[in-house]
């Protein structure tokens, strides 16, 4: 059985229509209370009674009496306050205004609390909420009144000016008064912005404009930068202390404009400015400058351009210095030094900014390729290091140097030229046994490999393989000789041969000479042995790069001379003759006159003279073919073994040109290959596009000249790889 329940309606709840007089009574009760509140006498009032009165008026639809009444009371009150505040003089004005404002705000909160029911249930847009109404009345009748507003703003700005000049002001008072502008703003802080912020920002710009102009003309750039930094910190603090936070970005922008943006050019150009700082490695000042310039638009672009310009200029000086042009070692050492220096600037001052690094790299690229010296100089630099220059360095130092070499190498646009020179000097090191350490050689090569891939280093690695295989071949040859029949008939000499695979090694210019019969027989034996072991191979003797040791018997003493093969041949001639002219030497050995000259020179003009010129001629530099030489039997030397340089360490001009020529030959092949590769995939292409594509493909190795590509295209057309379109001569077609 379910019990039915009925909704119980309490009997007293039907609101009676309120008499006008009753409404009036309630309003007067509230009005008296509000006035008491405004006089700070609230403690004897009953909150519940006032709340109930406001509630009763609203539910009896008499809210209008209450709302308009409130407006009037506030109006009246604020007008009274205006007179009181305006009468205060000097500093009293701010204090009086502030204390009245603080009280007023509290009163409005209280009034809002009492009239909470009115606020929630009666007030509708566009009417102001109870509290906002109070704020609005204050704004209308006090704050923006002509007797207050201008006076207040002027005093506030005056105090801020004083503070900027180092005086102490009442921050709490400032905060309260400035916050007042925000509090009375109905939406988006409009009163604050219009009445205060705008004038404040203007005053700020004005202040810093004149301060910065004065300061920068009387101080160094470094001092100015420090001043700016301090000013910015002060303004940041000011925002926190008494400004509305929405002013922050605007204030800082205004300061940055006046303090930094407007003086950027000056800071770069002035005597103590950016240029001097870079020149003198003033890392801290530059760091500060970087930090400050970073804050303004395009600031870093200025700084970056200035720095990159300086780098380019310094690099340009180094690569064109006459001493450096003569001495590759000095050139590369100086380049590594400035690279280190600028890397330090980049990391210590410019936060290793990507843009800065890139523009420094671009600068390096441009001056390193200013002349074609660099490829060879770099190869020579490494050559010297690998011939023993690394002797006194530890692994870490060596690695650092190698990495710097790679870094410079990376900037070279003609990497193929460098490669040729590197191979050339590597070959010389290996063949003359002058390489300091095979490990280091291989480390260096592996770095190139990492940088440019297998293709770049395959020949170099081939050279090492040859060296190893040669050793095996030589051991085999020695065993062969012991068992050979012919061996019994021949006097014993110690011959060492290296078998170089053609293609891996630089091609040395062909030279011919006549070997003494004994040596010649040994060579034939080796050829026989080797070709038997490796069928299908052909041996070409390169006598011009060999070395030999001969015994030099003097009346009282015996020396061993370490000579080049050519020098050996020349010295052997003196077994059968006392005096020989250069012409006779050439005839007796079949060596070219130029090589005779070069070979003889160290023998008579070095520290130990095994030959002498007869008659003795002083300081006659050029040798003629009729000059006559004889053995110097009076040679005085404590050493048993005397070593003679075969040729100078650096290459002679013809050799260098030979290397360059070979680079050009290789380039032709590379360009041909690139053109064919491109045309094969694209089938048909316009001339210019082909040039562009070709240059792009080859750029990692070298920068081909357009004229050269054109020639290669012509050549490929002749060889029927390509043809021109009959109707459009600028287009090519690939012929499969």
């Amino acid at each position: 059985m379910s019990r039915k329940m009925i909704l119980r309606v309490p009997k007293f709840q039907e609101p009676k229509r309120m008499e006008k007089s009753e409404a009036q009574r309630l309003w007067l009760l509230l009005k008296d209370a509000i006035v008491e509140v405004q006089h700070m006498n609230a403690s004897t009032l009953s909150f519940e009674e006032l709340y109930r009165s406001s509630y009763s008026l609203v539910i009896a639809k008499r809210g209008d009496i209450l709302y308009t009444g409130l407006e009037e009371v506030n109006n009246h009150h604020t007008k009274n306050l205006l007179d009181k505040i305006a009468q205060a003089v000097d500093e009293r004005f701010l204090i009086e205004l502030n204390s009245q404002w603080q009280q007023y705000k509290l009163q409005q909160i209280m009034i809002h609390d009492i009239l909470m029911y009115l606020d929630r249930m009666y007030v509708k847009e566009p009417q102001l909420k109870v509290f906002d109404l109070g704020m609005f009345k204050w704004k209308q009748n006090v704050l923006i009144h002509s007797q207050i507003n201008d006076r207040l703003v002027r005093m506030l700005l005056g105090l801020i000016h004083m503070e900027r000049n180092g005086e102490v002001i009442d921050g709490a008072l400032m905060k309260s008064l400035i916050q007042m502008y925000v509090d009375v703003s109905l939406k988006e802080k409009e009163t604050y912005k219009q009445e205060f912020e705008e004038r404040f920002l203007l005053a700020t710009s004005h202040f810093y404009k004149s301060e910065s102009n004065l300061f920068i003309t009387n101080n160094s750039c470094g001092a100015y930068l420090k001043k700016v930094e301090i000013r910015l910190i002060e303004e940041e603090a000011r925002i926190k202390q008494y400004l509305d936070e929405s002013t922050g970005p605007k204030l800082i922008k205004a300061c940055e404009d006046e303090l930094i943006a407007n003086h950027m050019q000056t800071m770069i150009e002035m005597e103590t400015g950016c240029r001097t700082m870079i020149q003198n490695d003033r890392f801290n000042e530059l760091k500060l400058m970087y930090r400050l310039f970073q804050r303004v638009e395009n600031g870093l672009v200025h700084l970056k351009n200035e720095f990159a310009g300086y780098v380019r200029n310094e690099g340009h000086k180094i690569v064109n210095q006459p001493e450096n042009l003569k001495d590759p070692n000095a050139l590369i050492t100086s380049l590594i030094e400035i690279r280190n220096r600028f890397e330090k600037t980049l990391s210590q001052s410019f936060a290793n900014n990507r843009d800065f690094i890139n523009s420094v790299n671009t600068a390096f690229e441009s001056f390193l390729n200013e002349n074609d010296k660099l490829s060879e100089s770099l190869a020579l630099f490494i050559d010297k290091k690998l011939r023993g220059g690394f002797k006194d360095s530890n692994d870490q130092e060596i690695d650092v140097i190698m990495n710097k070499v790679i870094l410079l190498f990376r900037f070279l646009s003609d990497k193929d030229v460098f490669k040729k020179f590197y191979e050339h000097y590597l070959a010389k090191r290996l063949l003359s046994g002058r390489s300091f350490s095979e490990d280091l050689e291989r480390t260096m090569i592996s770095k190139f490999k990492q940088e440019c891939g297998n293709q770049f280093t395959s020949k170099m690695e081939g050279m090492f393989t040859d060296m190893r295989l040669s050793k095996d071949a030589l051991d085999g040859f020695k065993n062969y000789l012991q068992t050979s029949v012919e061996m019994g008939k021949l006097p014993k000499i110690d011959m060492s041969v290296r078998v170089l695979t053609q293609g891996f090694w630089p091609t040395f210019p062909p030279h011919s000479c006549t070997l003494p019969p004994l040596l010649s027989q040994y060579c034939d034996l080796f050829t026989k042995y080797y070709c038997h072991a490796h069928t299908g191979r052909r041996i070409i003797w390169q006598t011009n790069i060999g070395t030999a040791e001969v015994t030099f018997r003097l009346p009282k003493k015996t020396h061993v001379l370490a000579l080049s093969t050519y020098q050996m041949l020349i010295m052997l001639l003196f077994n059968d003759a006392e005096k020989l002219s250069l012409k006779q030497m050439a005839a007796g050995t079949s060596i070219s006159f130029m090589d005779i000259q070069r070979s003889v020179k160290p023998l008579y003009s070095g520290k130990y003279k095994v030959l002498k010129r007869t008659p003795a001629v002083e300081k006659s530099k050029e040798l003629s073919e009729n000059d006559i030489f004889e053995l110097n039997l009076n040679l005085k030397c404590k050493l048993h073994r005397i070593k003679f340089a075969a040729t100078s360490q650096t290459d002679s001009e013809p050799e260098r040109q030979h290397t360059r020529q070979r680079v050009d030959e290789d380039r032709k092949i590379e360009i041909d290959a690139a053109i064919v590769r491109i045309m094969k995939s694209r089938k048909a292409l316009i001339h210019n596009d082909l040039i562009v594509e070709c240059t792009k493909q080859l750029s990692s190795r070298f920068v081909p000249q357009t004229s050269m590509i054109k020639k290669r295209i012509e050549n490929l057309i002749e060889r029927e790889y390509l043809e021109r379109f009959p109707d459009d001569r600028r287009r090519y077609r690939y012929l499969a």
Partner: protein, 115 residues
């Protein structure tokens, strides 16, 4: 009738009294309560205390318009978040919560009445 007290009066730390006095004839009923709870649960009480008016000075509030049982229910609600609503008290709860702007209770009671 007082719902939220410990056995030991000393340990309750009451600091505010709510007195229900519907008419002069009836004997007033007093609820012992805590300001901190009331002010954290209701904007009305928060404002009442902040105003520092008579009620704050005397630590007591006199309510005239509602019965003891309704006030007890509402106080229980403010303390516990729970309300025992039924056909007998729903309208009075709605009126109370409307007057004192207790949003959640307005919703609960008007929903109950509609159903």
């Amino acid at each position: 009738k007082n719902l939220f007290i410990n056995e030991n009066q000393e340990e309750n730390y009451f600091d505010f009294e709510i007195i229900c006095q519907q008419t002069q004839k009836k004997k007033p009923f007093s609820f012992k309560t805590h300001k901190s709870i009331l002010s954290s649960r209701s904007q009305y009480f928060k404002s009442l205390f902040n105003s520092k008016m008579k009620e704050y000075q005397e630590n007591k509030l006199v309510l005239q318009d509602f019965s003891t049982s309704i006030i007890a229910l509402i106080l229980k609600y403010l303390y516990s978040g729970k309300i025992e609503i039924n056909l007998g008290n729903a309208i009075e709860i709605l009126i109370f919560s409307s007057k004192y702007l207790i949003e959640e209770l307005i919703e609960i009671s008007s929903k109950f009445i509609k159903n």
